[in-house]
């Protein structure tokens, strides 16, 4: 995969991010297999397994979006290229994150309300009956390690690339290790005779995941409906976008200035002005100048096309 479509400073980070996501898929798949082998009848383990399975969605979405972004040329059918593939991937990843949190919350609240006592039995291994809880604890411990390392590496890359899909995957990895830790606490709690331990831990953690997922869903929906560019980690307006719009409004006080986000790029529109109408010199100096994809000027209403 080549990254010639990206600004020079983003090519190496993008290459690292793609490689990281391949590793992410490899390790996440190994976690899904290990957890599947030992999950038994434990609902908490099943939930954790489904969550690990759903965690594959953001890295796959990222890789698909990265490929589309890099290979799809502008064409009559896609005149703006595939830059928004990343936005679509961000939305898919956000929905997955929210779904995981909601699933966990439902399962754990339902177990708590029904006061279900979960059974973890034994398994015969090499002629010995071993309590399945020990294997579950081992599997959960293993499931903690990849997301901690991968998530920590994704965060700075997502900031450099201004990639919300990658950022959501970092949140997914946070959700993963937190669920793993909750699962361990839960299995250990069950082993100690506290039936409510794992459901309570899972319910508390799922609230945090639901919150992150909802925030990401809001930001990704805004992007898909041409909302103003949002910050990487919140629903607030992105700082560089706000600066650019502010400067354009100073330069063109009588015009309407609008902005929207296309993947990692910002598109600006100045409606009711021509470039040469600027009242002051236009010098947009941003920390990441590559973020401004283009500035379109729409001087006057076009006859027959409304305002």
């Amino acid at each position: 995969m080549t990254y010639d479509h990206l600004p020079q400073e983003l090519r190496a980070p993008m290459h690292r991010a793609v490689r990281l996501e391949y590793w992410n898929i490899f390790w996440s798949t190994s976690v899904v297999i290990v957890m599947g082998l030992v999950m038994g009848q434990s609902q908490a383990m099943k939930t954790a397994w489904v969550e690990d399975l759903l965690a594959l969605v953001p890295p796959i979405a990222f890789l698909v979006a990265a490929r589309l972004e890099s290979t799809a040329d502008h064409s009559p059918r896609f005149p703006f290229g595939m830059r928004r593939a990343n936005s679509l991937g961000f939305f898919v990843a956000a929905v997955s994150l929210f779904a995981i949190g909601a699933l966990m919350l439902f399962e754990s609240a339902s177990t708590l309300l029904k006061q279900e006592h979960v059974t973890i039995g034994t398994i015969e291994l090499f002629g010995q009956s071993i309590w399945l809880g020990w294997l579950m604890l081992g599997a959960q411990l293993y499931s903690l390690i990849p997301p901690i390392f991968i998530g920590n590496r994704e965060l700075p890359l997502s900031n450099t690339l201004q990639d919300k899909l990658l950022h959501t995957d970092a949140l997914m990895n946070k959700a993963n290790w937190m669920t793993g830790a909750a699962g361990m606490a839960g299995v250990a709690g069950l082993g100690l005779g506290y039936w409510w331990a794992d459901s309570l831990a899972a319910a508390l953690i799922s609230l945090d995941i639901v919150h992150d997922g909802f925030k990401a869903m809001k930001a990704s929906s805004a992007e898909l409906v041409d909302g103003a560019p949002r910050a990487l980690d919140s629903d607030g307006i992105a700082e560089d976008a706000a600066i650019a719009v502010g400067l354009l409004r100073i330069a063109y006080p009588d015009a309407e200035v609008r902005m929207r986000e296309t993947g990692r790029f910002i598109k600006l529109e100045v409606k009711g002005a021509r470039p040469e109408d600027a009242r002051s010199p236009l010098d947009i100096d941003l920390p990441r100048p590559w973020r401004i994809d283009d500035i379109a000027f729409i001087p006057d209403p076009i006859p027959g096309l409304g305002d």
């Binding site: 973890i120 034994t122 015969e124 309590w131 250990a188 039936w195």
Partner: protein
């Protein structure tokens, strides 16, 4: 955002390493040791219990008595009332023939089968059931059931 996983793992590892697991949620194992009796329900099977099945049940009960140091106190009835009593904590163990895909599998915990009898496309399994969540007691039942099945050559 990623602060704390190491300390969390350390706390968990310390908590787990110092513990004797698994334990029972309702303390069945301790109650059996204290009372000196295992309250067992034997599900009546409309006179279809074979001599071999009766021997397997007897062997399982003897093994459990030996492991717990308690004596069996037997109640005979049909399977449904016994399973309801087990669920309510009135019994510690129910042994009987149950469909391999019995819907009770969600409400009680079945140990590995002592014997399997095909019934057309389905099959009946002679097996023991414990109360959900009683993980130490269920672990013991499962271990001893496997040992009895192995002695009997049950696949």
């Amino acid at each position: 955002m990623f602060a704390g996983p190491r300390s969390l793992c350390l706390i968990l590892a310390l908590a787990i390493s110092g513990c004797d697991m698994p334990r029972d949620v309702e303390g069945t194992t301790e109650a059996i040791a204290t009372a000196g009796t295992i309250r067992i329900g034997l599900a009546e099977n409309s006179g279809k219990t074979t001599q071999d099945d009766a021997q397997l049940v007897s062997r399982l009960i003897t093994r459990l008595e030996r492991k717990t140091g308690a004596h069996a106190q037997i109640t005979r009835a049909t399977s449904e009332p016994l399973l309801l009593d087990l669920e309510a904590g009135e019994l510690d163990l129910v042994i009987g023939s149950f469909a391999a895909k019995t819907p009770w599998v969600k409400r009680v915990s079945f140990a590995p089968a002592l014997a399997t009898h095909p019934r057309g496309e389905a099959s009946l399994e002679l097996k023991a059931a414990g109360r959900n969540g009683e993980n130490r007691w269920i672990s013991l039942i499962e271990r001893e059931s496997r040992a009895v099945a192995k002695e009997a050559g049950t696949p």
